[in-house]
């Protein structure tokens, strides 16, 4: 029994798609449907019965007896259709479906490509949820992450295979409010339940809620880190690059002075913090014999500016962490990924690295540092750390597209490396972005599982269509219309693209974090003593000057 009879195949059919007339209100967008038919097998005239599985990708509803001009006239005259002789009862709904495959003999484990068109006039069925579930999973017994349910079918859960996600990378793409954070939380929660190690790069504190709700994760450890970069021999070049990029506009002689000083600057065996490193660098620059007298002061000045910036960002990060909403959070300095990677990556642990307060370049440098060394640990096959999944929020900032003109972003190289080689060593990436068109195309195309939520920017839509080989034109047309938490999931994690409604983990939602009410804050605002003192001093000074 295939379920409920919901329609009849009409028109021309092909092995890839067909149309059917839908019984009133019996099917919705994204529904999986089934058609029984016979297909030829082998070279003989033999046939075998098979069940064709398809997904509804378009639904058209029309009333052939309601001409457009009549509708216009009704609107202009302010008359209701039912008051006239126009027909209301004969509208029909026609669905277009994408063939997903066929299952000969009702064997759901394997879906084969359909190689013969569906029979015109055949009956179309809406299968019951247990059969749909079997089709979605193929009866495979593997570990799965529960993400939600099919759109319009709350009785059919969507569980994706876990291994392709953690080993072969996943991307979650959606505009702001589309549901990517909800989806990411869902994935993270499921992986925590599986005690899979997670490293979460969190520019805005979106995931700090996991610590707030740590009572829900009794089997896990939630660690909060702030960036604490130490310069070591292994990271000398990276820091040097950061510093060079931050100085901007060094002339050729100045760069030479900088490079020479860099070579000479000593680094302690246990490393130095960046500020100390820059102090030593400045000292070395002072000793440089430049041809022009202005070279050394210029370089020193630039380096002090960089030092100032970095200190300011550090202080900014501190201030953010000391805000009322975060001050109770037990942030720790990030352990050195070279020497203490095992403190960052542990089974059952989610390490959340809060990057707030740092500019893009610095964040990228930090991400590069962390990821580079974690990957090298895994690639060395030393088993120093277990396999891990790295969650990269705002991924377009860390691996931007070449067209963004930020090819020198430090994290690009390592992310590309992880995306291509990570699967061999159990280093996976979960890339999250609300501007896919700003993401590096090559990197994104290496992801094997995608969750795409609402995207309205045409560039983003076109980009996603280009990158995702199994995103059909019909599916991409759905992107602007998705509601919160609704999207398409496709890739190795699922058998075929599905419309999914992600479950919302309401217990992980926290107000106050990333949802500040600034309107209220403005009404309650009182200036601080320091601000009043500054204002008072300024007023008095002006009065004196006027006098």
């Amino acid at each position: 029994m295939l379920g409920f009879h919901i329609g009849t195949v009409v028109g021309n059919t092909s092995p890839h798609e067909f149309r059917f007339v839908v019984r009133s209100r019996s099917a919705k967008m994204g529904d999986l449907v089934a058609v029984e038919m016979e297909v030829p097998i082998g070279a003989s005239a033999r046939v075998e019965k098979t069940i064709v599985w398809a997904r509804i990708i378009e639904l058209d509803r029309y009333n052939p007896f309601l001409p457009v001009e009549a509708g216009q006239e009704l609107a202009d005259e302010g008359v209701k259709l039912l008051d006239t002789v126009l027909s209301f009862s004969r509208d029909q709904t026609e669905a277009k479906v994408l063939v997903l495959g066929c299952a000969p003999g009702g064997n759901y484990r394997h879906l084969f490509p359909l190689n013969y068109p569906v029979t015109p006039g055949a009956e179309v069925w809406l299968p019951p949820s247990d059969i749909v579930r079997r089709i979605l999973t193929g009866d495979e017994e593997v570990h799965r992450l529960k993400l939600g349910h099919l759109v319009g079918r709350s009785d059919v859960e969507v569980r994706i295979k876990s291994n392709p996600v953690v080993a072969r990378h996943m991307a979650i793409l959606a505009m702001t409010g589309g549901g990517k954070t909800v989806a990411a939380r869902r994935v993270i929660r499921e992986l925590l339940a599986a005690k899979y190690p997670l490293v979460i790069l969190d520019p805005h504190g979106d995931y700090l809620g996991f610590w707030s709700r740590r009572e829900l994760f009794k089997e896990n450890t939630i660690k909060l880190f702030y960036p604490s970069v130490r310069v070591q021999e292994e990271t000398r070049d990276l820091i040097a690059f950061l510093v060079r990029e931050m100085t901007q506009g060094l002339t050729e002689p100045q760069r030479e002075a900088y490079e020479v000083a860099l070579e000479q600057t000593k680094i302690d065996p246990n490393g130095n913090d960046v500020s100390t490193f820059i102090d030593r660098l400045i000292d070395e620059v002072s000793r440089y014999q430049a041809r022009h007298s202005g070279t050394v002061p210029a370089v020193k000045r630039a380096l002090r500016i960089v030092q100032g910036h970095l200190r300011a960002m550090q202080e900014s990060n501190v201030r953010l962490r000391r805000q009322p909403r975060l001050k109770e959070f037990p942030f720790e300095p990030l352990p050195d990924p070279i020497t203490h990677a095992h403190e960052i990556v542990k089974p059952g642990q989610a390490s959340i690295i809060y990057l707030g307060g740092y500019d893009h370049l610095t964040q990228s440098t930090m991400v590069s540092l962390v990821l580079k060394h974690l990957f090298e640990k895994r690639a060395s096959l030393s088993d120093e750390i277990p396999p891990l999944l790295c969650v990269v929020e705002e991924a377009h900032n860390f691996v931007p597209s070449a067209s963004e003109g930020q090819a020198n972003t430090p994290s690009v190289e390592i992310i590309r490396k992880v995306i291509t080689e990570g699967r061999k060593f159990g280093v996976g990436l979960l890339l999250i972005s609300q501007r896919p068109s700003r993401l590096d195309e090559t990197t994104l195309s290496q992801c094997n599982t995608y969750m795409i939520f609402r995207l309205v920017n045409p560039r983003d839509q076109a980009f996603v269509e280009r990158v995702m080989e199994n995103l059909s034109r019909a599916d991409s047309r759905l992107l602007p219309g998705f509601g919160p938490g609704q999207g398409i999931i496709s890739g190795q994690g699922v058998r075929f693209p599905l419309l999914i409604q992600v479950d919302q983990d309401k217990d992980l939602e926290l107000t106050g974090l990333a949802d500040e009410n600034f309107i209220e804050a403005a009404t309650k605002w009182k200036s601080s003593k320091q601000a009043e003192a500054a204002q008072r001093s300024s007023d008095f000074s002006r009065q004196l000057d006027e006098a």
Binding site: G7, T8, V10, V21, V22, R23, S24, P64, F65, P67, E69, A70, Q72, E73, L74, E77, G78, V79, K80, L82, D83, T84, V85, L86, S87, F88, S89, R90, D91, Q92, G121
Partner: protein
Amino acid sequence: MAAGAFKLLVVLNAAACLGRDVSVQRVQSKSQITLSERPLRSVNSASDVSIRYRSGDGRLNLDDKARLIVHETGRSLLVTEPLSKELMARGSDSGLLFLHLEQANGLIRIIAHFSEEDALEAFSARRPDLRLASYDLPPVYSTEIEPSTLRDGMDTDSVYQALLGFIQSEDPKLFTTHTEVFLRAPHLIVPLLSHLASLSAEDNLRFPIQLRRLSDQFRSILEMGDASIRIHKIERNHLEMWADAERKQYAFLDGGVAKIAGLPGAEPTAMRIGVYCVRAGDQDVKTREEWLLAPFVVGDIIDKNTGVHMDDDDQIDLRRLGEAARYTLELLSALEFVKSHRNLEALFLHGPLVNSFVMYDEGEPHFIPYLKEDFLAQFGITAAAIEDALSDIPRSRDGRGRMSRQFMAVYGYLLAQMAVSSVPLVGVVERSAGSWLAQAVLRSAVDAQIIKQDYRAKVMTLLKRYNISDDFLFGCVLEEGEYLTPVTIAKNEKRRAREIWQPVVAQFSPPFATVLKTTETSFPFRVEMNRAGSDNQANVMRALYHTARLLPRYAFPVGLDIVDKYAKVPDWLSKNISARMAARVLNRTIAEGDARLVAQVRRLLAHTPRDFFYRPKVD
């Protein structure tokens, strides 16, 4: 001077015209209005001139006895007694007199419009770009503006168009702007051109003017107080209409035909009669609408006996048989439907209510057969009932009694039922070929002594000469929302029938017919109704008009459009039911040996499960 067609606008200073002794004398004593003292480029003398104008009392007048005299000196004089009197009556307060002339090969149509100098000056102030003063406007005496394509530096075409627009806006009815709008409608170009192609080259030039003149005249006739056929106006108000129509039921019927590509020697034709019945204002979707689709296979309903001897090479004229079947089945279905729906406001059919049915007899060369007795019995129609309704049904030549089941008799019987039905039965014909209504208007005008018989004959000659049918003529005569008083028309003249059938044809009930113009730019459609419809014409026509206004571009009742789509046999059904398929299926069923099964299969060939009828619908 140039011959052929031209248009010209002459603007006369009426006060100046009456101010000069010579001129006023011409007007007074000779009814001559001087158009110009100098030669006018395109104007020729003409004796066939009609002038339309509005007199001081507001009435529209038509003078079709006017003449135009052009002297050798170039002086042009318009000879018109009524207009001259009007001019005299207005005296020096006449202001300006605009004369719009259209001439084609000796025919001239003039519209004379009285206006004020102030109005022209105000117009000139609004349109300084026209530089009317350079054209001597307002004129000292008279000015002529002829649209010209000559590159002489003067943009007379723009000035002509602008002035024409100005005076038309002052009196649209005088200028019958509705006629102009109709004739200039883009979709009219093709039918107009194809119509012109059927005329001689000379008549091509005259046709537009003749049409306008005839239109003016017909309008005048129809607006006469003592005309029995008058123009009725329906005010468009959907809100009121549908409020009044609440809970009233209307039905729409149409037939579709399919040919099942032939088995040799027996080429059945399938037909479907569709009915869409709707109760306006009923909010319950389940009870609001009723849909019926009745299939027929013609071969199943005919009795091959034709009542006459047929030689081996004689064949039934299948095309005529198909027509006879369609006309009969549609009317039969309509009558059958109203039997069970006595409270219908009206049943509208797509096509004539009464078809021309004089050539569907059993004789040579058509050999149209009878209808089967058991088929008629399904509808309660017996030979006895037919013979009760119609007298003098001829006997068959093979001695089998009266040909009561022959299509002619059956159709006559149905017409009799139609005539007495208490439900208004209304046929709507999209393009009204023929000139039944024009003839009816003229006939009634003669009877009411509005016109003379010789004028009627003259108009009939013109209508024939220019092939002016009712749709073109009344498309020009009527404004939007107007229709004529329904009048009986003779659709079946007995003289056209075979002699033995003439007494029966004479008993064919005629319909009451009218034309309704739905929009400014659409052809009017002919409406035929029975007595019940005629008695209730105001409601019927109002319903028809408003349902047609729901399709303003198509300008046809939307209910008929719906049922037309519903009943139409799609191409795939016609094409796909091929001879081979039909032969194979029939072969098998014939092998079964069950005649009823064979009949059923033949019906099913015209009505498959893929039919729209079986498609899921909103509940």
